[in-house]
Symmetry: D2
Subunit: 422 residues, 4 copies
């Protein structure tokens, strides 16, 4: 593996400050209660996200610094997420019962930790700085979850509260407009390609090792599947035709009574972070499960791309010019009407046909940090790209996101692929 | 039925104001988040109790007043509890997800409703005044639930937060002291007695009609079962001897791994509204289920009293001199060390051997208010007396409280009875 | 308590032989598989009933006889039902997995035990003979369960197999005929009455002690509620009107999608032990839960009788002349068209308004046999009378049957009561 | 795709007769009850396997033959497994309640169908003969399931009944003997290889298309993991060390209290089709889940092979000389003591690191038969090889078996792999 380049020290400080600040900005519209409630076991309270990312820094970096004083030693038990090596932890399904510490106390803890890191900054060794970089990326992941979890929480409230107004930059084009562009197909030749993170800069453990894959010729759609496409799928009996579905997916549809994407209502609206909004036909469909994505692809006579196909297509793209999170306000998928609407990154994550499994030669790191991704390599499917809630700067062509095939509270959508003759 | 005496008008106003004020005082120590969370489907958020009691007044009294303007018409759906006749309602298990309206908004709604009632006071007819009286009693019930639900919520938090300091009057004797009094038995002769509410003043529908019962000679313990008694039961294998238990109770013990009263810890402590406190051996045991109460009685060679026996014993007692709720602060059972510790009322509710069934001649009132108690007459057991969380003034000898036999998050305890020779 | 009369020795032998023989006759139409399957945790396989009743005799009588050789010592674990004092036992929900021992082996075990008891007969002491009498009554209970459990099993089979042809005596009048008799009301005066088993002959523990009760004037319907009555209830929205239902019952209706009695189909038929049959409007409705019975009574402007009321009405009746089980063949409720159709006993059990609780002065017997009924005195409702599947000779006015309020796979029906002016 | 060679007509007839006969021979030791019971939703009754394989032939072949008379038209609903296109079907979890039709009736149905196929044999067209070949392979799959399902059923019975004596050929060496052979590693070079079924003879749909894969150098163990190996894993805390487990696997271990392979007891025994037997240390471990296999590999410092690696290693092997099913009697894994104990086929299936996903270019066939495998390509892991219960002749290097990662009632075991330097 090539030597890992060290991040520029000042740049790291700037990114650290910006990331920590954005988390706080994201909760500005929230009451203490908003930040405390948990709407299902899959989600976490906003306060918990603020606290857990802080716990990560305190546990893996500050605790090793001489003289560091823990803000409250009891918080370790409360805000560990899943690191078995770090000890017992509060059960995930009951995070919403932690009305104490309050949001204000958690924010004070954040300031305590940030100040301690600022004090220690010049003394951090290379390993600690690598953990800072991991901590930033970790917090960016939780920023996205914070927003998707809030969306789920507010969607349960009959008052349909809006989290915020749409972001300024979005507000000028509050909805997709104009004609839906015709879907084109971008062809890719067969052959051996290299995918995976090369290890020369920061990447999550599961993104590597870089390795060769053998691809057959394929084409990738140059647009995301839209709400109008999905309406056509529904109108054609998509949710009632067993032949389109994987067996597990069909069982899920029957058991849960699924008949539309999450947050859709019967009156043409959808619940968003800006409250209930009329669905725009040209906007990318969001909040569909892998099962739905796969059934849609079968109905459309196409298929989902593999993660290798997607990565090969994305490797030369700019990952930072799409519709992603870069400040406070309500984000939502915009598609071609939004900034960088033709990017492979942004708007919604793309479900792939690939199970989340270790790459050849993958080894989990030793110790608690080694629990990062490897232990989740079972039962989940890979998503590629980024969504409107993914912080700008967080994305890479090699990035592997993953969720269980029935989950759909993330901004998850579909980009079709198809085989080409060899 | 004898004519129902109308409450004194000024007295009613005074009681209304005091009751509405006490509810607000009870939530003074709470954050918005504390008031929003729901720790299990059996409990409700504090904010919900504040709102639901207000909804009751608005729906059953104010809505009928000309010109009344609803504070927010959407609140009806959110804060109806179980009145089928009033329409659809928000599912009980998801009350903790209602982070909006905020606690502050609910308090504003309360002020709106209280002001409207004050305005309308002189115009209220006899039926409306009867509903005010019912509304007061209803709110008193919810004050008790508010406290027991909070106790349950805070007990789930590893930080073990205290709701409040013990009340001043209690603080001077923060724990039971001195020797446990020897348990004596008060004998009651056999014969025909009349129980049930006579209907000449306010009572809940299920308390009547007054009717004759035939009693056999019995004796009722003059003390409540204490923590020390319960320690002896545990030490004697009480939770491991199937022969002591009802079959449903034994299945519950096995399934839930029950081995002590709720809130007891292994170090001699118990979680209370004033935080974790050492258990005092002479204090009444609390937070036991009917199953546990029945098994304890079997172990002690005694039995639980029937509700008729308890009522006959209590009919001449003063229901207002025991350890009950009469202001802000943390309440807890005190037994003989507390005020009126020898009263049949206060400290803990007494499980009886009686199922909650209609009295002979009971008829539910017509309309929505008729859903008050009758429809719960299935599967639940009667408790008698009052607890430390029951507002003073709320109690009567004929009062019938009821819970499912496995429930124990209320202040529920045991007073033994036994047969006497005829 | 009055001295218990000892049963006549020859009569006991005759009854023992007849009861043991009837059980075997009841399974004659069954295959090994029919006798092995278990359709829900509430029911047991026919083979299990044959075995458990045999286990009872072996464990409580033969095991104490010098020189008795157990047929297979492993059967104790398999066929204990719920006697905690006798040790561990096979879990109830998995009885249907016991394909071994086979039906033939169980029948061989029965012959072994019957022969051993015949050998020992002249040496049985008074206590053993009392246990024989209990064993007979116990087996009669299981004969009824065997039939109702089979009915439930066959009802799950899309082939709708018939257990047997209707019994000869019934076959001559295979269905109720003629006009439905007008319902009359039989009045009963108020006053003190004695109910409960006097203890001078055999009765189950829970039937005593005899004791006085105070009754108000009431009337009891002289007919059972019929299928036609129930059709009218359904047509009037009975299953859709929350106001008619207890809260637990309404939750059950909603959760389970209940809209008719068990075994009813949409085409006017009902599944019976003789296969699917057209429902006769005059036949008593069967297979309704307590919740349904209570809702029906509310709809009809009446109520269910208390168990004391029913017993007072039945105390002078002949318990042996109704439509009950007295031989092989398919039984079913016949009402006025059947033998003794006007009896308070037979056709269907009558749900009462009484919870199954101990009578005043009730004490469970010591030891394993003491687990007979006392430990079930929680959460269940009393039924009175007898059904078409209750062996003739098993019934008494003091007999207390009991089931949970949602259960309805027994032959359970409704006889209305109402208050009279005092 | 190369043209599919047609099977020799006489050979097809011979194989058809042998396969149909073996199924009947396998149930010879069973009672009607044994053949009817279902021990969990994952398993099916033996009778159901006999019936479903017959339904397959009747539905997909005979129904299209002019003049075919269905044995019982109601059986279609009962014995369809999962073919949505063929219509509604009996719920899987309730197969054990079908005491009718009896085993004898199902066997009569089999004779009816076999006779009809014999009559029609000379008239079957090429498509029908291809379905016969599929029907044979389908029935072979169900023969294996029949045995594993029976093993699970009998394992639930405290009487621990033996299905049969070990097969004669096995009985001469009833247990593995001698020294465990040292595990060696067979190296494989990197490069492009072709895997998947070429389509020139019978294979299941999911085995193709044949396609190229890119492999890195690896080594495959030349022995299966043994009981002694597994004992060492347990002794080293394997089931208590979270770091060894996938997160889903660890949750499963905790939730289900898993501490050893299925059917192991604490006294060194294991339940087998020949009843309880002492475990031999050199025999291959069986009845472990994917989660356990993966954790074991992590503990052993190795990994599971991918399915491509396994297939490349197996492609030149004889798939028919290992310990597989070739007649009546109790099969069990024997390892090096059994026939062909060094084969990659036989004894136990090998869990791979590969999710069961479509091969590049896979398309499900149209119509009901197209439901064969494609719709199960979600959430399951691939197993390769064959077990002692797989009929001899059924296996191929390209064969893909698949189960959910927690399932372990099949004969599932572990063969380790490791990376080699490039």
């Amino acid at each position: 593996m090539a030597a890992r380049a060290e991040p520029d020290h000042d740049d790291l400080a700037r990114r650290f400050t910006a990331t920590r600040g954005l988390s706080v900005a994201l909760v500005a519209p929230l009451s203490d209660a908003d930040a405390t409630a948990q709407s299902m076991p899959d989600t976490s309270p906003a306060k918990w996200h603020l606290a857990h990312t802080t716990w990560f820094l305190e546990t893996f970096i500050l605790a090793a610094q001489a003289g560091y004083r823990h803000f409250d030693p009891r918080f370790g038990f409360l805000f560990n997420s899943y690191y078995e090596a770090v000890g017992a932890r509060h059960p995930r399904a009951f995070r919403g019962l932690l009305t104490r510490p309050s949001l204000a106390e958690v924010l004070a803890w954040r300031r305590h930790v940030d100040a301690a890191l600022t004090d220690a900054w010049s003394r951090l060794d290379r390993a600690a700085r690598a953990l800072i970089e991991l901590g930033i990326a970790h917090e960016e992941q939780h920023q996205e979850l914070l927003l998707t979890d809030l969306l789920h929480l507010f969607a349960q409230n009959p008052l349909a509260p809006a989290y915020a107004e749409p972001r300024a930059v979005i507000a000028s084009a509050p909805e997709p407009v104009g004609e839906a562009p015709a879907t084109g197909w971008r062809s890719h030749a067969c052959g051996i390609a290299t995918i995976g993170h090369p290890g020369t800069s920061f990447g999550f453990d599961c993104e590597g090792p870089a390795h060769q894959v053998l691809l057959r010729p394929f084409a990738l759609a140059d647009t995301l599947v839209t709400n109008a496409d999905w309406d056509a799928f529904i109108a054609d009996g998509g949710y009632r035709r067993a032949a389109l579905w994987l067996a597990d997916g069909w069982a899920w549809v029957q058991r849960e009574g699924i008949a539309a994407p999450l947050y859709w209502d019967a009156d043409g609206g959808s619940f968003t972070l800006a409250g209930r909004r009329q669905r725009h036909p040209n906007a990318p469909v969001a909040h569909v499960s892998f099962y739905e994505a796969d059934a849609f692809a079968a109905w459309a006579g196409a298929r989902l791309p593999t993660e290798a196909e997607w990565e090969v297509a994305a490797v030369t793209a700019d990952p930072d010019r799409g519709n992603q999170l870069d400040g406070a306000g309500a984000v939502m998928p915009l598609g071609n009407a939004g900034p960088g609407g033709d990017s492979l990154f942004g708007d919604v994550w793309t479900w792939t046909a690939s199970a989340f499994l270790p790459y050849p030669g993958f080894r989990a790191a030793a110790g608690a940090v080694g629990e990062y991704n490897g232990k989740f390599m079972s039962g989940q499917m890979v998503l590629r790209g980024a969504s409107c809630a993914t912080p700008r700067g967080h994305s890479r062509a090699s990035y592997r996101n993953f969720f269980y095939p029935h989950q759909r509270w993330q901004f998850t959508g579909v980009r079709l692929a198809k085989d080409l003759p060899c």
